[in-house]
Symmetry: C2
Subunit: 138 residues, 2 copies
């Protein structure tokens, strides 16, 4: 780990320094906007699943078995509202509805992949840190 991890990080920190001064407005913060989505219980899993291929409503329910129907609908609506997911209705009977990632949704996969990659790589370190902490703090 060098003193400066990467130019990208430095650029972000500059942006962050400015942000603290200029915009202490939490609700309009673009970072908070995406973090709230990333951070909720199902969004990421849903985006990841839809990245594999488009899914119908029932397919998603089967792909993510422990999600409730209520949260499935709500998460899809939220993702759709933000433009990450497109909803296409086929007026058949019974109705068929297909959900697929938009270009915007697919573009989220890039930073998300970075995060997932980091999580997998540092998994062991984090577990070790937790074990050490719990040992020291009875």
């Amino acid at each position: 780990m060098t003193a400066s991890i990467s130019g990208e990080v430095d650029a972000m920190l500059d942006g962050f320094r400015r942000a603290i001064g200029i915009e202490p407005d939490f609700d309009n913060c673009p970072i908070r906007g995406v973090l709230d989505r990333i951070g909720d219980k199902w969004s990421t899993l849903m985006v990841l699943t839809l990245a594999l291929r488009p899914h119908r409503f029932g397919e998603l329910k089967r792909a993510i078995p422990d999600i409730s129907q209520r949260m499935l609908t709500q998460t899809l609506r939220d993702l759709q509202r933000d433009g990450y997911v497109a909803r296409k209705v086929f007026p058949t009977t019974p109705p068929a509805v297909e959900y697929r990632l938009t270009d915007l949704g697919r573009s989220l996969m890039v930073p998300l992949a970075g995060l997932v990659d980091w999580a997998v790589k540092t998994r062991g370190e984090v577990e070790a840190a937790r074990a050490a902490f719990d040992r020291e703090n009875v």
Copy 2:
């Protein structure tokens, strides 16, 4: 946006496909572990603040004015437990406690920078999508 965004994404999706089959265990999922941290209200802001420079407890409270003392302590303990933040006590009177990012914590800045960068870049698109959605759905 091409058919395949990047090799990294493809690799992640492969990993994800395996994960759905092998490990449907939510609590031990390394992705969920980092997402829960990233997703909570104060962790990211705290990591970003500590990335600027080490801070004392009171400095953090002043840097993030609307955090409660309770959540400041709790978030710091969580970050410390996972090995992202190091806590150093100076046995002076009154006591001084310094918090700084560990190497592991600094390494998180890389994927985090990617996410922040993406959030800033796509901010307009998301806002437009929301406005369009709200217009169509009364």
